[in-house]
Subunit: 533 residues, 2 copies
């Protein structure tokens, strides 16, 4: 049996040798070793004390079993009460590498921003009542002074469909039958987020849930792309990320619309002004953090120029040129290019390949570099157009892969990712809510990590999913595997800087800051939970 | 772009080069090529005509979208109405390599067999009424003549809990309030099967659903291990398998109980008599098939000696010796050894490793061979005891892996499976109902196949899941991938013989028969659906 045990130990070691945190497992300090033990102890204790309970099943007799890594929208309240969540919320997260600008700020904050702007009006295609509230999608717009109205309500029978009402009025006079102003807030939240009945009931396929998902962006754009809100929105995005321990954000901003609506209600704010504003806020926030003595907590932000995969190859040319122009004017901000939107139903990368290849040539001529950061394989399909995007992403030389959910099905592409050091931006909660996986234990992430492909955990669209920051995604991943430990977390955090678009010098600086904060984090575990292990 | 397209073609080819049906893709006949085109045309047509419908959602307002490969228990009725199901039901399936003897016969047939035996009595721990019917688990037993009773009912208030009632009486006098005799039949079905409310509602974890799953076996054992039923049960198992196009069955039989109950109601029928009976029926069925001129349709059956992973290493010794004795007496029947039961909660392979290693040595001394066919990795766990069973299964030299659901997480073990040609018995519908995957498109099977590990599709426990035969499992797999084609099906069918425990000569003979039937199948597609493509 000694022989057998020796062979077994070797086999396990060989099996884990490809794992992304393999090398790092040996390099940890004594303090980290103790903190890791506590962390794993808390995970296994809470698996019993928290996750073995049951909760009533709303729509069926009986109750359902809670479990670690279960569907996020029904688990959220339980998660925030755990010790493990407390610990992970204190962890420095490094970079957030996959996040869509239009879904980064909490819905209640967005509503507050909207209500603070008298220019913001709302309209609906039908008088809002119990029969229409479930389907009517509102439109928001910052109107020019001349267009402002004094219409009182969108729930009054006298409301003329599709006429603009000041958002303040619409809220104040929201009918009692629909819950008054609080009813308005609930409705606003339902419009802007995915709720559990949708994700786990009525919208049971990726196709169905994407319809709801897209509608949240359609509704929000009139607010987010109104300049006075836009700037506060970005500020809020930076500060809330910092609060969660994120020190760098590389955000996908959709430049599909050529103009944003200005404070004057005119749609006349061009892309370069968006970037000027972004840059300005970024500098303000950095200066503020420095002044607070919290320089280690924020190293900056860059933007991945993104457009929707619905346009023609002719139309993309304008955007590619625009992207180059923006890169030339804001070299420190523009860090990549991507095509976004539902891969299963919209256009594949191959459709744009010729333009994209020319784009690469143009960059060489101009001596600039805008790496591709393509979404690819965000699908359950096997051999479908969306799955095949992975081939094109890699052939076109993508630096990272957004989602890559179906990557595990492609041994050659997995090998290329290892060889060319292509990192996969994995969005665990997004994948689960958008119905690619039933729960975290069903997610292919452990297979990808064990097969040696590096990943960065990302939140994707936290305003819609409710997974603000990165703590929730780290939580779901950490509880769904016995192999994950403190070193795994460390590796994921470091990888999020390593695979970022930061320059070599910026990375060195970011690692230095991260190292200091990591040590504080480890001490926090030891000091706070030292008695528990 | 020509260059790009050439590179793309090469990359896809390289990526698929490891795939299990890769070599076979080039070797197909012109007829197969046409049949394949039809088959894929029907799949894509029905994806729209059948699977784009919605169905009302029982417990929530609104409806749910149907989709190919969706949860089996809610999809079954739709599946059986499709052309693709008709075609696959005509396909010769080769061998069924992972199936549990105690869950192989349709529940209505088992009930008929039970009702035909006056010795069969039933008892329940409480008078059956609307309050108890959901929880009271009945016990069945073939009693000795002297023990027979004339008690009238298990639903009458005068029923003394735990007293035996003839099953015929219990059914005839089942209270009107509970639906009378048809109510009895429905109750019996509920006891013996998993229903959609359980699988997709109240029993939402593998742990919960296994409790219900195990209870079906506990209830059924009193019937299945009553000799007069047992023989008819096996006969039914063979014939129903044949009707579905299965020509060979390698069944896991639980030898945990040392004696079966004989016709006389005494628990005195030892294992060797079980095998004599099995052998006898097998010969009868083969002779009958020959007489009907249907020799090609059935090549035989073997048994994998199985015990529950709940016993001590001391207790296992008796079974290992018994297994050897059975192999010596029935060398053509005993084809392997396995430990069965819920891996997440019962004992791991490592617990028995020492005994199992000695068992291998004993076989060498005796010049016999009883290959291990271990269940391993039937779990969502990552690094858990159940997941670690994969290391031991492989170190102990398993010939095939039962389930191997978590195998994809282990690159070294995947490599060993390729090198040593270890086949994985994948049970798609079982995995889905037992909550390892939400639907077929979420199942890791495509990743396993694409990474070059050979698989045999299996039904596991069709009496409990309702996936009788292999057509349903082939259906779910075929519709969930665009890569799968007729050659994939051919490869899966041939692999089910290739990785069976049949001898080299038996395999040659089985392949010959399969070849003839495959050609008939291809002609069936062309003749029946020729107009559709």
């Amino acid at each position: 049996m000694d022989d057998y045990h020796a062979q077994r130990k070797q086999l396990i070691a060989d099996d884990r040798a490809l794992r992304i945190d393999h090398a790092a497992q040996k390099e940890i300090s004594e303090e980290e070793r103790r903190a890791d033990k506590m962390l794993r102890h808390i995970r296994s204790s809470e698996a019993v004390s928290v996750w073995s309970a049951t909760q009533p099943l709303k729509h069926l007799h009986g109750s359902q079993q809670l479990f670690p890594g279960m569907a996020f929208l029904t688990a959220r309240e339980t998660i925030v009460g755990t010790k493990l969540f407390d610990i992970l919320s204190k962890m420095p997260k490094g970079g957030l590498l996959h996040a869509h600008h239009a879904a980064m700020v909490r819905v209640d904050v967005l509503l507050k921003l909207a209500l603070s702007q008298p220019a913001i009006h709302i309209r609906v295609p039908a008088v809002l009542c119990s029969a229409t509230i479930g389907t009517a999608l509102p439109e928001f717009r910052g109107l020019s002074r001349a267009e402002w109205t004094t219409h009182p309500s969108i729930t009054d029978q006298r409301y003329a469909p599709d006429t603009w009402v000041p958002i303040q009025n619409a809220r104040s006079n929201f009918s009692h039958a629909l819950g008054g102003p609080e009813g308005f807030d609930r409705w606003f939240t339902n419009i802007m987020t995915i709720n559990p009945s949708e994700a786990y009931g009525t919208h049971n396929t990726t196709g169905e849930i994407w319809k709801k998902f897209q509608s949240t962006f359609i509704a929000a754009q009139g607010l987010i792309f109104f300049e006075p809100i836009s700037t506060e929105y970005i500020r809020e995005f930076f500060y809330s990320s910092i609060e969660d321990g994120i020190s760098y954000v590389e955000v996908r901003m959709a430049f599909h619309q050529k103009y944003m609506t200005g404070a004057d209600g005119e749609r006349n704010v061009p892309h370069r002004v968006w970037l000027q504003l972004y840059d300005h806020i970024l500098k303000e926030v950095k200066a503020d953090m420095k002044q607070q003595g919290r320089e280690d907590e924020f190293v900056g932000s860059k933007i991945i120029y993104s457009i929707l995969r619905i346009i023609t190859p002719e139309e993309i040319e304008w955007y590619l040129e625009d992207c180059i122009a923006m890169k030339q004017e804001f070299p420190h901000l523009i860090s990549g290019f991507d095509l976004i939107g539902h891969e299963d139903t919209l256009l594949p990368l191959i459709y744009y390949a010729e333009s994209l290849l020319r784009f690469v040539e143009r960059q060489k001529e101009l001596g600039i570099e805008i790496p591709f950061m393509f979404h690819a394989g965000e699908t359950l399909g096997d051999g479908t157009v969306a799955d095949m995007n992975l081939y094109d992403a890699i052939l076109l030389g993508t630096k990272r892969i957004g989602h890559g959910f179906s990557l595990i099905k492609h041994p050659k592409l997995m090998q290329i990712c290892r060889e060319r050091d292509i990192c996969v931006e994995v969005c665990p909660i997004s994948n689960e809510i958008l119905r690619l996986t039933g729960s975290m234990p069903m997610h292919p992430l452990p297979a990808v990590m064990n097969q040696g492909v590096h990943v960065a955990l990302c939140s994707d669209d936290p305003a819609v999913f409710g997974n603000m920051g990165l703590t929730f995604d780290f939580y779901q991943v950490f509880v769904a595997s016995e192999v994950n430990n403190l070193t795994t977390l460390h590796e994921l955090v470091w990888d999020s800087i390593r695979y970022s678009a930061l320059s070599h010098e910026e990375k060195e600086c970011a690692f230095e800051k991260l190292e200091r904060r990591w040590n504080i984090f480890v001490r926090y575990i030891l000091d706070t939970y030292g008695g528990a292990a």
